[in-house]
């Protein structure tokens, strides 16, 4: 079998066509929103959210409503609980995220077990796009278009709020609303990725292509474009691996996405070379000296 046939033949089958569209929807939307999750240093929050959303999905299944609704409601609930623990009790952010997300995840596992079929739990955790239906694919596609279009349009505002949130507030940018929109979009993407890579692997598809793209590119626009290409490549390669060598789809997509980061890191290290590293060391030293001269530290800068 030649390479073209090896790649194309599986997609002549109906279930593989559905899996392909589903994979492309997640492969584009997850890395695009991932660029902003990485920029805003929300990776751990996203990881926690991907676990917590299991509780929302299980609750939605029990109530007979759309998974998306359950997922978004639990994502917002998690965000509210984290904010409460951080602001009212003074807990460190990572501790609050860990406690809340694992609590909701545990509740979701218990709920899924009580609901019945343990295979359904594995399906939610690790995904299986080979069983996805056309209505599910259509919903995934629609949500993916909304998320990607929103990210592309709001990119300047996201960048402004990430660069200097205090200044952004003074010119009327609603930084809190943008953050909330980002959290909701991340929740939507986890729900979109539910049947393709599962809630546990979705964080990989959100983070890894975005990290690789940030290493390779010099602007947010090209980072979003590059990340989505890498995400689609990982999704398609994962589907082919599942078809030809019977590897589990979700974890395989995640492994390929991680391999993209490893390969990108290697390319960047080779491209930069020792001269770049020496220059960076000098720059960092100069910055440290500058900060020392200014007498600044995170403690006194918020006087």
């Amino acid at each position: 079998m030649d390479l073209a046939a090896w790649i194309l033949e599986p997609f002549s089958l109906s279930f593989m066509q559905r899996a392909l569209v589903s994979g492309v929807a997640v492969g584009i939307s997850a890395p695009v929103i991932g660029v902003w999750a990485v920029t805003k240093r929300l990776v751990y929050l996203t990881d926690g959210m991907s676990h917590a959303i299991l509780a929302g999905v299980v609750a939605a299944a029990a109530l007979g409503i759309a998974f998306t609704i359950g997922g978004v409601v639990v994502a917002l609930l998690m965000a509210a609980l984290v904010v409460f623990l951080v602001l009212r009790l003074g807990l460190p952010e990572d501790s609050a995220i860990g406690v809340v997300s694992q609590g909701l995840f545990a509740a979701g596992v218990v709920g899924a077990t009580l609901l019945g079929d343990p295979r359904a739990l594995a399906h939610i955790l690790f995904g299986n796009p080979l069983t996805v239906t056309w209505p599910e694919v259509a919903a995934q596609g629609l949500l993916a278009i909304i998320v990607v279009a929103g990210c592309a349009w709001l990119a300047p505002a996201f960048a402004m709020a990430a660069f200097d949130p205090a200044h952004a507030r003074t010119i009327g940018v609603r930084v809190g609303a943008l953050d909330a929109l980002l959290v909701i979009s991340l929740a939507l993407v986890v729900v979109i990725g539910l049947s393709t890579v599962g809630v546990l692997m979705c964080i990989t598809l959100i983070t890894a292509p975005a990290v690789a793209a940030r290493l390779l590119t010099g602007s947010f626009t090209t980072a979003m474009l590059t990340a989505s290409i890498l995400g689609v490549l990982a999704s398609i390669a994962g589907l082919l691996a599942a078809y030809h060598i019977s590897w589990p789809v979700g974890p395989t997509i995640a492994l390929i996405a991680i391999a993209e980061v490893a390969l990108t890191s290697l390319i960047v290290l080779i491209r930069r070379g020792p001269a770049w590293r020496a220059q960076k060391a000098v720059t960092q030293e100069r910055r440290r000296e500058g900060v020392a001269h200014s007498g600044h530290s995170p403690r006194n800068s918020s006087e």
Binding site: T39, W153, L154, P156, A157, A159, M160, A162, F163, D164, A166, H167, A168, R169, T170, I171, G172, V173, R214, T217, G218, S219, F220, A223, R286, R287, G290, V291, H293, S294, G295, H296, N300, S301, S302, E303
Partner: protein, 251 residues
């Protein structure tokens, strides 16, 4: 300093202004006026409330008391004609942005919410960079800038807002000594064009040399006047809790 016609309200009026963070009092019943066209330096030790004062003037922290800008209660800072330049170290210089991307952010208030920067916005950004003599940096990555260049970029972002008042928090921090006076000259040039300039400063030598009015803060206003009056030996000793002979040798 510009002469104030009697019917023109001050640029900034603070009335019984207090800022608290939980149990910590950052500012305690501060009242002062800043006239239009003044250049004012706020000095004091760490924790004196300098940054809190500037953030109160820009609506970034909850306050008690009144903040009036040009005679009206403060709304969103930009809408009140105030441009804020936060401490340079608090911005994310690692992001994949160009200088033009950063400066054009200042135009957000000139266009509809959620709309994207237009070619007119970008042209305005380039004009401001040219005004500050750094037009050559327009397409430079922000992570490659020196301290002085980065500060001018933030100043350009403030200028593109077309403000009446510029509020700067530690603008000389981390700036190469050779670039300090150039940056101070830029601020004075802006002031000559009618912009009111308010700075929080650690560097009392720069304050004494370039600023006509000094406000010494220690949660309250300890002293307010020209440098010769506020930054003499006794004034510095009171402000920094130093023995008088030591403060005099520093001054």
């Amino acid at each position: 300093m510009h002469v104030k016609p009697s019917d023109v309200p001050p640029a900034v009026q603070l009335r019984d202004l207090s800022v608290r963070f939980g149990e910590v009092v950052a500012l305690d019943h501060v009242s002062l006026d800043v006239l239009r066209g003044e250049v004012v330096a706020f000095v004091g030790p760490n924790g004196a409330g300098k940054s809190s004062l500037l953030r109160a003037m820009t609506g970034l922290v909850p306050t008690t008391g009144d903040v009036l800008i040009n005679g009206r209660a403060l709304r969103v800072a930009r809408a009140s004609g105030v441009a804020y330049v936060a401490q340079r170290s608090l911005a994310r210089w690692d992001l994949p942005l160009t200088v033009e991307d950063v400066v054009v952010c200042g135009r957000q208030g000139h266009r509809a919410t959620l709309s994207r920067p237009s070619s007119r916005d970008r042209a305005a950004a380039r004009d401001c960079l040219a005004l500050l003599g750094v037009q050559g940096l327009t397409h430079r990555r922000i992570g490659e800038l020196s301290g002085g260049q980065a500060q001018r970029v933030l100043l350009a972002r403030a200028l593109v807002q077309d403000p009446d008042i510029i509020v700067l928090d530690e603008p000389f921090a981390g700036v190469d000594p050779g670039a300090v006076h150039g940056l101070a000259d830029v601020l004075m040039k802006l002031n000559d064009e009618g912009v009111t300039v308010l700075c929080a400063l650690h560097e009392i030598d720069i304050a004494a040399k370039h600023f006509a009015r000094i406000v010494a803060l220690q949660r309250r206003v300890l002293a307010d006047g020209p440098p010769s009056q506020v930054l003499n030996g006794d004034g510095i000793a009171a402000l920094y809790s130093l023995p008088v002979d030591h403060a005099q040798s520093d001054a």
